[in-house]
């Protein structure tokens, strides 16, 4: 099958809103996979997008909403010829992404930490990551996966330039 140019030239938008519960991560991952499929991402890229969005949503469910199922997690995906962009939105207290410690894995292990890996994973998996923090109103994490230019090959390497 070949991309339909007439469809791909437009921006397409998909939105999913679910109650803030880890129970809904399966649904979120399926949603991301389906969007990524339509955007003609490779299987590797689909997996990267799926994991990055899972991490972002897990953070919202845990940190922004403290597992309060009456709160809502929003995932907004758009794609066009150039990129797939996924925004994960919460209305929690917000946080300072710059101030989050990025300890070495060895340090986390010594301290017997069980967390602190999500944000570095998101940064390793995606081509661009932006935060827009407006505490209580709207905290938005936007993740961009640039599309491989046509004809460069069937697959791009897994995680272009991992950071951690």
């Amino acid at each position: 099958m070949v991309p339909e140019t007439s469809v791909r030239s437009l921006e397409q938008r998909f939105i999913l809103k679910v109650p803030s519960s880890t129970r809904n991560l399966v649904m979120i991952r399926e949603f991301v996979n389906r969007v990524a499929e339509q955007a003609w991402l490779s299987e590797t890229e689909r997996g990267q997008l799926e994991l990055a969005v899972d991490e972002a949503c897990s953070n919202v469910i845990e940190h922004a909403y403290g597992h309060d199922v009456q709160k809502e997690v929003t995932v907004r995906a758009t794609f066009d010829d150039d990129a797939v962009r996924i925004a994960v939105v919460d209305q929690g207290a917000g946080f300072d992404p710059e101030a989050v410690d990025q300890e070495a894995l060895e340090t986390l292990i010594e301290q017997r930490k069980t967390g602190g890996l999500g944000m570095r994973l998101i940064r390793s998996l995606m081509d661009e990551v932006h935060y827009e923090i407006e505490p209580g109103r709207k905290n938005e994490l936007t993740m961009v996966k640039r599309r491989q230019p046509p004809g460069v090959g069937p697959e791009r390497g897994s995680g272009s330039d991992p950071e951690s």
Binding site: G47, L51, L108, I109, T114, L117
Partner: protein, 120 residues
């Protein structure tokens, strides 16, 4: 339609093998954490995680490995991770887990490693 998360326990002499199947994410990681904690509480420090049927892992799952490895190693044991699917192994590698954890090809290889190094 849902791919559940299932933990199956088997004992090989002094070694406990926990086989994981399905999705290990923020929803299911607490169950895995409880399973590992129970082994440690029972004095089992030589653990093999059989990841043959593990189709997905997120950082919540990795966090369980991270949180227990020091404790089992201090007690003379280890958590060896066997048979990671390439997609799942990629996540371990991306975060540098391959440098710290003993990732082996299959369960017999993991058991072998334990018997080559007698426990403290």
């Amino acid at each position: 339609m849902p791919e559940p998360f299932v933990i199956t326990r088997a004992v090989h002499g002094e070694i406990v093998v926990l086989a994981l199947a399905g999705f290990l994410d923020a929803h299911t990681a607490p169950r895995f954490e409880t399973a590992v904690q129970s082994e440690i509480d029972a004095g089992h420090h030589r653990l093999v995680v059989d990841a043959t049927a593990l189709s997905y892992i997120s950082s919540a799952g990795l966090g369980v490995f991270m949180g227990f490895i020091e404790e089992v190693r201090e007690a003379g044991g280890d958590i060896k991770i066997a048979a990671l699917a390439p997609k799942v192994r990629e996540v371990f590698n991306l975060l540098g887990f391959d440098a710290i954890f003993d990732l082996v090809d299959d369960v017999p290889a993991a058991v072998e490693r334990f018997t080559a190094t007698p426990s403290a």
